[in-house]
Amino acid sequence: MSSIGTGYDLSVTTFSPDGRVFQIEYAAKAVDNSGTVIGIKCKDGIVLGVEKLIASKMMLPGSNRRIHSVHRHSGMAVAGLAADGRQIVARTKSEATNYDSVYGEPIPVKELAERVASYVHLCTLYWWLRPFGCGVILGGYDRDGPQLYMVEPSGVSYRYFGAAIGKGRQAAKTEVILLSISIVGFLLAFRPGRLDQCMRILSLCSLGVWGGEIEKLKLTDMTCRQGVIEVAKIIYGVHDEAKDKDFELEMSWVCDESNRQHQKVPDELLEEAKAAAKAALEEMDAD
């Protein structure tokens, strides 16, 4: 729901009469216009996937990476303004290494997410700074298991089973909600600014309506190997051929199979995922 906050949207230090900070909402719009970024938490790890819209045919494939390793055990996928994203990744890497040198252990993912979130939030507090125009999905595997967090330009950070940001997030999330079992007790919130949507989703989930008919897969039973295929399918599915040009699929994982290290998905698995995704698309088109 977009609205213009005439007069109250000139500075991030101004509230509107109905209690909104428009600059932050505009920053979120920058994220919404970027290529889709998805993260899912499987039984044994995390899978991150990015729909990298190719700006020019002269770009080298594999360049302009959108997923970065921030520490041995964690990685971050960025959506929105690329330069802003670089800044956040650099800061995250620095926080992670600093924690390791002081406390002698890899930074717990929860702690890392909190630090990223407070850094992003910091830039919404002063008039001489502008908010970050990017959202990040942070996935890591620490001694409490695999965890997935999403940080938005407002500085909120929640923990998720599955998260999506960017152009195709609504379509992807519908698929991803269907992929997950909502287990009571975990924080599951999409679009936290939109309480009405949240309540609707939650009530539908608890009624079992949503889950009932179209719940395809269960993330809690899925391994990362299977998760990679599913993420590829979703990204290919939400890509809009008409509006956008070509895209390149970039994926990473951190799971038991990768020895709890964050790394690019191995090439053969990536090719397998792409093939499966294309095949699924043909099937859908054929119907």
Partner: protein, 251 residues
């Protein structure tokens, strides 16, 4: 030669400290003597200090230095626990101790043994000796400390090695993997009392702290509850008894 005693000389803990892991937790043990030169400043000190609910540290060397290091680490760990939302791990506590020890090695003179229990790795012992090394061990014996007592006339330099150096041979023989809690505590008690018997810089009572998943237990063993060693034993079949007690001399 001279009986001059400087009560303002740095208090040193010529010490015996021990940390031992067992099947399910750790046992920390220490003697209780704090000396200033040859004067025993405190004969019942508590050298096992709490850092968090589940991590304790045995202090040796300069009493002041070890107290200050413990205080700083307790402060940092407290904040860390709040931030983390769960108890800190033993490894993190030990790492904080060694960072302070290493980065201030020119100013500090303290050897520490960090021991505790956490839900990820169970019972662990980390030795942090003088220079700021950190080494995880199944058992650790008190670090050497030597106090340079500048103001004391007769002794320039206490001999290096506290009571703990007398224990290496004993541990090589007596320690085994996978002991029960009682076996481990017995071992610690025996070891500390052996060191007290042989080391002039150790003495007093034996204090032990047992840390496991259920919590922390503090024990206190005064002299009469400790085993006697060798020359401390009552004479048996001594010639002196046979000949009868000599008449006291009357002048």
């Amino acid at each position: 030669m001279d009986q001059k005693m400087d009560f303002n000389a740095p208090h040193s803990m010529g010490t015996t400290i021990i940390g031992v892991t067992y099947n399910g937790g750790v046992v920390l043990g220490a003697d209780s003597r704090t000396s200033t030169g040859v004067y025993v400043a405190n004969r019942a000190s508590d050298k096992i200090t709490q850092l968090t609910d589940n991590v304790y540290v045995c202090r040796s060397g300069s009493a002041a230095d070890s107290q200050v290091v413990s205080d700083y680490v307790r402060y940092f760990l407290h904040q860390h626990t709040i931030q983390l939302g769960q108890p800190a791990t033993v490894k993190v506590a030990a790492n904080l101790v060694r960072l302070l020890s290493y980065n201030n090695k020119n100013f500090l003179e303290t050897g520490l043994i960090v021991g505790g229990w956490d839900k990820y790795e169970g019972g662990q012992i980390y030795g942090v000796p003088l220079g700021g090394t950190i080494v995880q061990q199944p058992f650790a014996i008190g670090e050497m400390e030597d106090e340079i007592l500048k103001n004391h006339c007769s002794i320039e330099h206490c001999f290096p090695g506290s009571g703990s150096s007398y224990l290496y041979g004993f541990f090589d023989q007596a320690w085994k993997e996978g002991m029960t809690k009682d076996e481990a505590e017995d071992l610690v008690k025996k070891a500390v009392s052996l060191a007290i018997a042989r080391d002039g810089a150790s003495g007093g009572v034996v204090r032990t702290v047992i840390i496991n998943s259920e919590g922390v237990t503090r024990n206190f063993y005064p002299g009469d509850q400790l085993p006697l060693w060798h020359e401390e034993l009552e004479p048996q079949n001594s010639l002196l008894d046979i000949l009868g007690a000599p008449e006291p001399m009357n002048i």
